[in-house]
C-alpha cells in the first residue's frame, strides 16, 4: 500500500476568490438574502415614505397633482399639517372610520361564529370526507373575489332571487330593499372572508390531539364543557390568525361597499379611493391611508407575532 500523500497544491482560483469575499463579509447567503430583501424594501417599505411625504403636500392642478416637499413651490411650514387637521375637522373621515371598524369587527365575529363549527366539523370528519370538504372550502378562494361579490347583487336585487323566493313563499307581499344596504355589506364581507377564517382554524383544530378530549372525558368532564375548557383555549392561535385575516383587510375593503353598499356607504377604503380618483386630492388620500395604517398597526403586529410564533414552533 502506498504511503499517504498530503495535497499541498494551492487552492483553486474560485475557492480563493470565495475566501477573500467571505473575509470581506460577502457570503453566498448574503447574496441570497439580498434579492427578496431589496425587492421588498424598494416596493413595499419605501413607498410608505412617499405616502408620508405627499401627505404634507397640497393639491395643485398639475402632473403629478401635488406640490413638492422642498423648493420654492413647496408648502409653507405652518400649513404642513393642514391635511391632518382636516382629517379631524371634517366628520366624514371620522364617520367612515367608525363604520369601517364596526363592519370589520362585527363581520369578524360572525365569521368566527359560522367558521368555528364548520372548521371543527371538518377536522373531526373521516379523512376522506375531510379532504373533500376542505377542497370545497378552498374552491371559492380560487374563483374571482369580484365575481363572488357580484353574485350577491343578483340575489339581493329588488327583483332578485331572494325576493322572488320570499314572494313565492308568501312570507312577504312586496319586495324588500336588500341591495345597497348595510345588511348587504355585512353579508358580502362575511361571505367573502369566511374561508380565511375557516382555513387557519381548521389547520389548528386538525392538529389537536383527540386523546386530550378522551382524557378530559375520562376525568369526568362532559363533552360540552371539554369543548370550552380544552378545545377552544388550545385553538386560540387559530382564532387569532383567522380573526386577523378577516378583520384587517375588511377594514380597508373597497369592492364590497362599492358594489353592495350603495352610494351612502362611507367606508374608509372607499374614501381613500374617492379622494384619489374622483377629487384627485392625492395628499388627502395619503393622509387617510396613513390614518388607516396607524389604526391597523397594532392588529398587524399582533398577527405577525402569532405568525412568527407558529412558524418557530413548526421549525
Amino acid at each position: 500500500m502506498a504511503a499517504e500523500t498530503v495535497d499541498h497544491s494551492p487552492l483553486p482560483l474560485g475557492r480563493q476568490i470565495q475566501h477573500i469575499l467571505v473575509k470581506l463579509g460577502f457570503r453566498p447567503r448574503t447574496a441570497v438574502i439580498f434579492v427578496p430583501y431589496f425587492w421588498l424594501t424598494l416596493f413595499f417599505l419605501v413607498p410608505f415614505f412617499f405616502v408620508l411625504k405627499i401627505s404634507f403636500a397640497q393639491t395643485i392642478i398639475a402632473q403629478p397633482p401635488y406640490t413638492p416637499l422642498f423648493g420654492p413651490d413647496s408648502v409653507p411650514t405652518h400649513e404642513l399639517l393642514d391635511n391632518f387637521r382636516r382629517l379631524f375637522q371634517d366628520t366624514i373621515y371620522f364617520d367612515a372610520y367608525l363604520t369601517s371598524l364596526q363592519l370589520a369587527a362585527i363581520s369578524t365575529v360572525i365569521c368566527l361564529l359560522i367558521g368555528y363549527p364548520m372548521a371543527y366539523g371538518i377536522a373531526r370528519c373521516a379523512p376522506s370526507t375531510r379532504s373533500l370538504l376542505l377542497m370545497a372550502i378552498i374552491l371559492p378562494f380560487w374563483t374571482s373575489f369580484l365575481i363572488r361579490v357580484y353574485a350577491w347583487m343578483g340575489i339581493l336585487n329588488t327583483n332578485g332571487v331572494l325576493n322572488n323566493f320570499l314572494l313565492w313563499l308568501g312570507v312577504i307581499d312586496a319586495p324588500l330593499n336588500l341591495l345597497y344596504t348595510p345588511l348587504a355589506m355585512y353579508i358580502g364581507v362575511v361571505y367573502s372572508y369566511l374561508p380565511f377564517m375557516i382555513l387557519p382554524l381548521y389547520a389548528n383544530l386538525e392538529k389537536m390531539d383527540v386523546s386530550l378530549l378522551e382524557a378530559a372525558a375520562d376525568l369526568g368532564c362532559r363533552p360540552i364543557k371539554a369543548f370550552f375548557v380544552i378545545t377552544v383555549p388550545l385553538s386560540f392561535p387559530g382564532i387569532v390568525a383567522g380573526s386577523m385575516l378577516v378583520f384587517i383587510p375588511a377594514v380597508g375593503e373597497y369592492v364590497i361597499p362599492e358594489l353592495l353598499g350603495g352610494p351612502n356607504a362611507l367606508m374608509i377604503g372607499r374614501v381613500v379611493w374617492n379622494e384619489f380618483a374622483q377629487n384627485r386630492d392625492w395628499p388627502m388620500a395619503s393622509v387617510v391611508a396613513i390614518a388607516v395604517l396607524a389604526l391597523l398597526v397594532v392588529p398587524i403586529m399582533f398577527f405577525q407575532y402569532y405568525q412568527n410564533k407558529s412558524q418557530e414552533r413548526a421549525a
Partner: protein, 381 residues
Amino acid sequence: MAAERAKADSQTETWNDPDAVPYIRIENVTKKFGDFVAVNNVSLDVYRGELFALLGGSGCGKTTLLRMLAGFEQPTTGKIYIDGVDMADIPPYERPTNMMFQSYALFPHMTVEQNVSFGLKQDRVPADEIKKRVGDILDMVQMRNFAHRKPHQLSGGQRQRVALARSLVKEPKLLLLDEPLGALDKKLREATQFEIMNIQDRLGITFMVVTHDQEEAMTLATRIGVMNHGQIVQVGTPKEIYEYPNTKFVADFIGSVNLFEGYIQEDEADHVLIASEEAGCPIYIDHGISAAPGAEVFVAIRPEKLELSKTSTGTGHNCTPGTVKGVAYMGNLSVYLVQLDSGKEVKISMSNQRRAAEHAIDWDDRVYVTWHANSPVALLS
C-alpha cells in the same frame, strides 16, 4: 486473504502503539452555540481502521462532534485533522468523509440506484465505473433487487442498508454514522450490528459511530469514548470501559452498578482496604490505587459480580448481611434487590442456570452478599 487478516489483527491495538500516527486528530476542539457550550475542549485520536463509538446521553455533544468532522459545523476553537490535513477551511463537499444520517436522509425523489450513485456523479466518475461500483455495493448490502425502488417503497431496515451503501460507495477515509441503528427494532438491530462490523472489517474504512445505546457501542466498537456535558470523560475498549470505569458517571452510564461510599484505610501496592458504612463491612480490593489514606472514594461493583448465599464466608471483609426485598425473574437471569443492614439497597443479578434452583432464595430471606477481591473498582470521582 489470510495475510490481510493477520495484518488487521496486528492493527487492532494501534492506540497502544506509541509510534502509530493517528488518522483522525481532534485537538482541543470547543463548539459554542451562543452561550451554550456543546463541545468543551475535546481532544481525541482515532487510528486507521478503527470503529470508534462516541457514547453519551442526549445533549452531551456527541452529534455536534460528529457534525464538525463532517464539516456541517465549524469548531469555535481547536483543530481537526483527517489523515494529516487540517479541515478548518474545507467545506463538507470536499472532505474525505461520508456520513450516514440518523434519519437516513435518502433523497425521496430518487431511486435506490440514483441515491447510491449520487456521490460518485458529483466526482465525475465515468458512467460505466459508477454502474459497477453501485452494483457491487448494492450486492454487498443485499439491495440489488430493489435498485429501482423509491425510498418510500422500502422498509426501515432496507432504507438503513441503502443509506449505508450510499455513504460507503465513495470509499471515504472516514465514515460517520449517526445513531445508525436507532430506528430499527431490536431483532433487526442485532443482525445489522454484525453486518456493519463485517463490512467495516472487509473495507478497512475507519468508522466513527455516535450512539446513546451502550449495548450498541459495546458490540460494535473497537474503542468507546464516553461523553458527558460536552467532554470526553473516558476513552477505552468496551472491556476497559465496563470493567475499569474511571468515574461514577461512566460506571453508572455503562451497565448497572452498585456504589458504596467509603474512605481508604490501607493503600498498598497489592491491595487496598476501604472502610464503608454503607457496605456494612470493609472492602478489600486486590490491586492498589494511588490515593492518600483517608481519601474519600466510591466503590463500584457490578450486580453480576455480587453473589448471594445463606451463610457467611467469615473473612470479615467483602461479605455483608442483608434481607431480600425483591426478586425480578427475567428469564436468563434473576435480579435480587437486597437491603443491607446498613440500610443501603443493592442489586444482584444471578444467571438462571437450572430451571428450578434447589436452594432458591426468596422474598424476606436473610442473606449474605459477597464478592471477589478483584471485582470492585475504587473511584475517586
